[in-house]
Amino acid sequence: MDSREIEQLVEKYWNCETLLEEEKQLRDFFRGNMPENLKETAELFRYFEQQQNVAIGQSSFDAEVKKKIAASVPKAKSVSLFNMARIAAGVVVLVAAGYFVREEVRKAYPDEPKDTFSDPRMALEETKKALMMISNSFNKAHKEASKIEMFNEAEQQIQGKRIDEKKTNI
């Protein structure tokens, strides 16, 4: 590459128009040449080259990293105290709500009657007694109710008379 080409390339470099490949060419060129008119550019490229070789400079680095890696257990998903408190609060609300709802339901539907007799025969006697009482009451009521029939008869008689009257009127 002649100096003209290099100068053009350097100009391109300062305008940020060079490709990576061209920048590499410049670096290669300035490694061996230091034209007086491009002194500062040459220095810069030598600096770049020198910087590329800077290394971590510690032979034990890899071993140290590997040791730390072996020792490091991936962090378990930590649930923060705040989140735990939120979940706990939610549970408390649900439990309280459940309790009150149960109370209300209990009030609305009283307990089913329970057996009051342990002996089946006594239970039967008691049931019979109760049924007899109901039956007596019915009979009494029926007797009274039969009196209503008198009214019905009377009403029919009256109506019959009226009909007769109407017929005679016509």
């Binding site: 910087q51 971590i56 680095f61």
Partner: protein, 170 residues
């Protein structure tokens, strides 16, 4: 990712990560700590990282974020910054030339340090590490135009100062 893949894909990036962290933090000790932290983080998150195709760019990105976190944290240790020696490899140079080169390296180092953070990052990634613009976008989480503007300004500032220095015969 198993330990073997880690050793083949992640550990070898250590020097690049180190240089980048060093460029941002200015302290070798801190840079080394950051690289270790990055390695551990990558290892602990290896399940989620199975889908990442550019592992190196990903590691660089974590390095950047961790370094910036450190820079911004208040508990930052105050360390002597940039304790750096410039090793000159060329054997053919005379002692005088050697010191001259060392001095110019030191000056350019100071120039880079004086650049605003973003410009320094972009210039480091492009000119020292040789990343493509796309990779730089990925590492720095910037869009293409921002990367190009920052690089343009960085190179412009460095050039201007270099020319000035040489004009005053420094």
């Amino acid at each position: 990712m198993n330990i073997e893949a880690f050793e083949n894909r992640v550990l070898p990036t250590k020097n690049k990560l180190f240089r980048f962290a060093f460029r941002l933090l200015g302290s070798q000790e801190e840079a080394k700590d950051v690289v270790q932290e990055v390695m551990l983080k990558v290892w602990n998150g290896r399940e989620q990282m199975a889908t990442i195709d550019n592992m190196e760019a990903w590691c660089m990105r974590i390095t950047k974020n961790m370094s910036l976190d450190r820079l911004r944290s208040k508990q930052r240790r105050v360390t002597d910054s940039m304790e750096e020696g410039f090793e000159i490899r060329q054997e053919s140079l005379s002692p005088l030339e050697r010191t001259e080169i060392q001095e110019s390296m030191q000056r350019i180092n100071e120039l880079m340090k004086a650049l605003p953070e973003k410009q320094r990052q972009v210039m480091h990634l492009r000119d020292i590490e040789g990343y493509s613009y796309n990779e730089i976008c990925e590492i720095l989480e910037l869009d293409m135009s921002q990367v190009k503007v920052n690089l343009f300004r960085a190179r412009g500032a460095v050039r201007e100062k270099l020319v000035k220095m040489n004009a005053y015969g420094l």
